[in-house]
């Protein structure tokens, strides 16, 4: 027993170093798997506050760009309004109600909440952004996040007033996507090279793709509504050894200067998830 104590005392420095290493590595690998880490909630509150101070300064230099993109999005939305389409003898009154079911009995599936970006990175291999809206304001894990131009990423961690979003520029993210023109389903991911393009793989060679085609989200994702813009094809990489193309897309979201985002809440997600999990259990 005495020898053990002597040993510990003798090598206390080294043992202390080993303990800290193990703590650090367990933080890292736990976070990479589940995106939860000790004190991440408190730390997000603190770093979020520092970042929002900083982004208040940076914000003024981007006002012009933000205005432009919001105006563009408004124009797009105005064009989708119901009263743009009017036949001579159709229904005249448009009823706006706040019920979660419309007159045709359709239940609301997506709820949108705006949020401001307070921290952003593009230069690392795993990039995250922090938004100033958290659990108290209705943001939960796995919600999708979009910008006026296209999709941004998925919420992976929340604290009371802030949320951390894993952007598309992250080695761990992958988004279910489809080619808008033909409807082929694939997966979009990032290879870590440059923030200027992401990759979509496994497109059969029978499909005709061209440079400039749009890639949008498919309906299979629980986080994103179908048809949200992901990017535009800039290069088609043909692999001679397989029957598939892979294409490089220019992401439509400008990750360098994303300032306002919208969090998408899929209200029917839980029901769908429960059913799918119950089915898996019985198989």
């Amino acid at each position: 027993m005495r020898n053990i104590f002597l040993f510990i005392r003798r090598y206390f420095n080294f043992l202390f170093f080993l303990v800290l290493q193990i703590i650090a590595l367990s933080f890292l690998f736990r976070y990479n798997k589940f995106h939860e880490a000790a004190f991440m909630g408190i730390a997000s509150e603190l770093t979020g506050r520092v970042s929002s101070k900083y982004s208040n300064v940076e914000y003024y230099f981007r006002l012009k760009k933000i205005n432009e993109s919001l105006a563009q999005q408004n124009e797009e939305l105005l064009n989708q309004l119901k009263n743009n389409f009017q036949g001579p003898d159709s229904l005249t009154a448009i009823v706006v109600d706040t019920l979660n079911k419309d007159t045709a009995g359709l239940a609301r599936r997506y709820l949108w909440r705006g949020a401001r970006v307070v921290n952003n990175s593009v230069s690392l291999q795993n990039n995250y952004i922090t938004i100033h809206r958290g659990e108290r304001q209705g943001v939960r894990k796995d919600m999708g996040v979009i910008s006026p131009q296209g999709i941004v990423g998925v919420v992976v961690n929340t604290s009371e007033n802030f949320a951390v979003v894993r952007t598309m520029l992250n080695r761990q993210s992958s988004v279910s996507s489809k080619i808008k023109k033909t409807g082929e389903i694939g997966k979009v991911f990032w290879d870590g090279r440059t923030p200027d393009y992401v990759t979509m793989e496994n497109i059969p060679k029978s499909v005709k793709v061209a440079i400039g085609d749009s890639i949008v989200t498919s309906g299979y994702s629980l986080s994103f509504p179908p048809g949200m813009m992901i990017g535009v094809i800039t290069e088609i990489v043909e692999d001679k050894t397989s029957n598939f193309y892979s294409v490089k897309l220019h992401p439509s979201t400008n990750f360098y200067s994303v300032e306002y985002v919208t969090v998408v809440d899929n209200l029917q997600k839980d029901e769908q998830k429960r059913l799918e999990e119950a089915t898996r259990m019985t198989q």
Partner: protein, 177 residues
């Protein structure tokens, strides 16, 4: 200004510069990540106890991690270089007792060549371990070697510039009595 306060201010400044200046630089290439923050650990005084040094390294790395949302990725290499630091100082110090005559490692206290070696080895260890941790998750061997070499080069350049811009006057303390 006391040494303690100065080191706390440095702690905050190094983190802020790394997060809000160096990480905001738009990426030139996948391999080039400008890391400077760990210079804080290299600048800590000679007479810091080894336990404290290791603990500061861990906390310092973890602080940066909570900003980049990668808990552990920077903490592990920082702990390692903080632990290795005393060994290197012992080997590279110019003469016996220099760590008593000067406050902290610098060009004046250690001499240019030993100080450069000290910085280079710890930078290489830091970047090597950091990229190794990334490499476990993804990437190829080429990614590992390329990124270690490129980011070490950039780090060395940044440290060189910092040493020139913020030249630290080291007073020679005569405590021979």
């Amino acid at each position: 200004m006391s040494k303690f306060v100065r080191n706390i201010i440095r702690y905050i400044l190094f983190i802020l510069v790394q997060v809000f200046v160096l990480f905001k630089v738009s990426p030139l290439h996948q391999f080039i990540v400008p890391y400077l923050y760990f210079l804080y650990i290299l600048w800590l005084p000679f007479n810091t106890p080894r336990i404290t040094l290791t603990l500061i390294g861990f906390l310092f790395g973890l602080t940066l991690d909570y900003f980049t949302k990668t808990p552990g990725l920077h903490a592990a290499p920082c702990t390692l270089i903080a632990y290795m630091r005393p060994f290197l100082v012992n080997i590279l110090i110019r003469q016996e007792g220099a760590e008593q005559n000067y406050a902290s490692p610098s060009i004046t206290s250690m001499g240019l060549a030993p100080y450069a070696t000290y910085v280079f080895i710890l930078t290489l260890i830091h970047n090597g371990y950091l990229v190794f941790l990334e490499w476990i998750d993804f990437g190829s061997f080429f990614y590992f070697v390329g990124k270690v070499l490129a980011s070490t080069g950039v780090s060395m350049l940044l440290i060189f510039v910092t040493e020139i811009l913020f030249f630290r006057k080291e007073k020679f303390r005569t405590n021979t009595a």
